[in-house]
Amino acid sequence: MRTWLGSIGASTPLGSWPVYRQLTGTDRLGRGAAAQSPQHVGLRPRTASADRVAGSVCPYCAVGCAQKVYVRDEQVVQIEGDPDSPISRGRLCPKGSASLQLVTGPQRLDKVRYRAPYATEWTELDLHEAMEMIADRVVAARERGWQERDAQGRRLNRTVGLAALGGATLDNEENYLLKKLFTAMGAIQIENQARI
C-alpha cells in the first residue's frame, strides 16, 4: 500500500495533497512537513533579493545608529540596524525601526506647495519656478534689511531681513553650504536646534 502510494510523485495533484503526504510521509498528524504549503518551502527574506544595500545612519536622535538600507527596483524595501556598528551593534529604537515608514510612507511630501498671501488653501507650484521666486525674494529681503553701519559708524555689512532656522537634522555638508551662503549674503540670523 505504502509503496503504491509512494509511487505517486509529489508533483502530481494527489502527491501535493497534504492528506496524501500525511499518509506516505513522516508527518502522520499533519502538523508539520505535510501541511507546509509550497509557498512556504525555502522561504527567504525580502532583504535577500535586494539589488543593493546602502550604509546609512538613523535620522532621529544623535546616538548615530548605523542602518542598512535595502533597495529593490529602486524602492527602499527595508531599513534595519547594521550589526557591524560599534555604536549600535545593529539595534534600533522604535523610531529608528520606523525609518522605513518615514521614508516610504504616504505622509511624505512630493510636490511643492505654495500659499499665496491671504490665501486659504495650498496651490501647486513648479519646483524650479519656486526656486526662482525664492531667489527673487531673498535678494529683495536682503536689500530691505541691509545695515551698512551702526549708530557709531562701525561696519556691520549685514542684513537682518533674512533669517533661517534648522540644521540639526541636516548633513554637515548641507549646513556648511547654508552657513557659507547666508554669511556671504550678509545674513546673520542663522540658527538651529542647538540653541533650543
Binding site: 508539520g32 512556504h40 527567504r44 525580502r46 527595508q78 540596524g81 539595534r91 522605513l100
Partner: protein, 356 residues
C-alpha cells in the same frame, strides 16, 4: 504516534521534518527591558502588520495602562510591551520615594478607571487597543476632592504623610510574544493545516492556506493568536520565518536595544536563562523566575520563554497554561461513550417501537 503532551525533544522531527536545523526561540529577559517598544515597531515594519489606525476606524486613544497603548497581543500586534507600576521594589533597587510627602498609591484608582471599561468592550477587551474610557464618561465621584476652594494651596508638611504614604515602587516592562509552544494549541486545532510546525520548531500561520475558521483563537491558552479584521485570517508572530531562512534573527530581537529579547537555539537560551536567573538571585532579586522554560509544563515548554519579576498573571500571562490537546484522548473517549449512548437510544427507540 506523536506525542500530544509533555516534554518533547525533537519538535521539528516530530512534525515530520527530516534533517532539520536546531530548534530556535526567544528568551525575553524582562529585567533589562526599557519599554521602548522597538520590538513592536520593528516587527510591524518587517512583517507589514497593519497599524491600528489603518485597521479600525475607531481612532487611537490612551488606554490608561501606564505607557501601554497597545493593550495585548493580537492579529495586529505580534509583540506587546506590558507596563506594570507596582508599589513594591525589586531586589536592592532603591525606588527613591522614602521620605517624600506622599500619600497613598494611586495605582488602585488608575486600575479601577481602566478595568470596568474593558469588561464593557465588545470582546471583553480581548482585542487590541480597546479604548477603556467611553467619551463623556462622568468622573467617578469618589475621586473628586471633598472640597475645592478654587484656589489651590500647598498642603502643609505632614498633611499627607503617615501610615498611608507610599514608599516602594517599581515599574516593570515586558515584551510579550507568541510562545511557539512545544505543544501548540493553535496548531493542533487548525483544521486546514494553515498553522504548521516549521523545521526550526516554530509555529507559523500560512496565509495562503488559512480560511479564517477561528478555531486557533480559542485553542491558544495564552490568548495570542487572533483573526484580523477585514482580512479574516489568523495572524500571529512567525518568529520571522522568512528571515530564519536566510540565517537572520527575527526583527524584534535584532532591534531590541538592551538585548532583553534574545534569539537563538533554544537549548542555549535555556542555559543562558538559567545563568541569568542565578545571577539575579545572587543579587537579591529573589522574585525573578523563568516562565515557559520548563519542558514539563502544560505546553511542553515554550519556544519563547521569559524571565519575569512577578507572577505571570501580573503581566497578563496565564499562571499555568496547558494545551487542550492534553485531554484530547479523554475527550474523544467521552464523546465515544456519548455517541454510543446516542446510537443505543436510537436503536432502542425503534426496537421498542417495533416494525409497522
Amino acid at each position: 504516534m506523536s506525542r500530544l503532551y509533555g516534554p518533547l525533544d525533537d519538535v521539528a522531527g516530530d512534525a515530520g521534518h527530516v534533517e532539520h536545523p536546531p530548534r530556535v526561540g526567544f528568551f525575553t529577559d524582562t529585567s533589562v527591558c526599557i519599554g521602548c517598544k522597538a520590538c513592536e515597531v520593528a516587527c510591524k515594519e518587517w512583517n507589514a502588520v497593519p497599524s491600528r489606525n489603518e485597521n479600525d476606524g475607531a481612532g487611537l486613544d490612551l488606554l490608561g495602562m501606564s505607557f501601554d497603548n497597545t493593550g495585548m497581543l493580537g492579529a495586529d500586534s505580534w509583540r506587546h510591551v506590558a507596563f506594570v507600576e507596582q508599589p513594591r521594589r525589586t531586589g536592592h533597587q532603591e525606588p527613591g520615594f522614602a521620605g517624600l510627602p506622599t500619600g497613598p498609591s494611586g495605582i488602585p484608582e488608575t486600575a479601577g478607571a481602566v478595568e470596568p471599561r474593558l469588561q464593557e468592550a465588545p470582546r471583553g477587551g480581548s482585542e487590541l487597543g480597546t479604548n477603556p474610557l467611553p467619551t463623556g464618561a462622568p468622573e467617578p465621584q469618589e475621586l473628586r476632592p471633598t472640597e475645592n476652594l478654587g484656589m489651590p494651596g500647598f498642603s502643609r508638611p505632614g498633611d499627607l504623610t503617615g501610615a498611608e504614604s507610599r514608599t516602594d515602587f517599581r515599574w516593570l516592562m515586558a515584551s510579550d510574544v507568541c510562545k511557539h509552544c512545544t505543544h501548540a494549541g493553535c496548531l493542533d486545532v487548525c483544521p486546514t493545516g494553515a498553522l504548521f510546525r516549521t523545521e526550526f520548531g516554530t509555529v507559523v500561520v500560512q496565509q495562503d492556506i488559512c480560511n479564517g475558521c477561528g478555531y486557533c483563537v480559542s485553542g491558544c491558552p495564552y490568548g495570542v493568536i487572533d483573526r484580523r479584521q477585514h482580512d479574516g485570517r489568523a495572524n500571529k508572530c512567525t518568529l520571522c520565518y522568512d528571515r530564519l531562512g536566510d540565517g537572520l534573527e527575527p526583527a524584534c530581537a535584532k532591534a531590541c536595544p538592551t538585548d532583553s529579547i534574545q534569539f537563538g537555539e533554544l537549548d542555549e537560551l535555556r542555559e543562558r536563562a538559567d545563568r541569568r536567573l542565578a545571577q539575579l538571585h545572587d543579587l537579591g532579586v529573589s522574585e525573578a523566575r523563568l516562565y515557559g522554560r520548563d519542558p514539563d509544563d502544560g505546553v511542553g515548554g515554550d519556544g519563547a520563554f521569559f524571565l519575569l519579576l512577578d507572577e505571570p498573571e501580573v503581566y497578563g500571562l496565564p499562571p499555568d497554561p496547558h494545551v487542550p490537546t492534553r485531554d484530547a484522548p479523554a475527550m474523544w473517549k467521552r464523546a465515544g461513550q456519548a455517541a454510543a449512548a446516542f446510537l443505543l437510544a436510537g436503536l432502542a427507540a425503534f426496537v421498542a417501537g417495533g416494525r409497522r
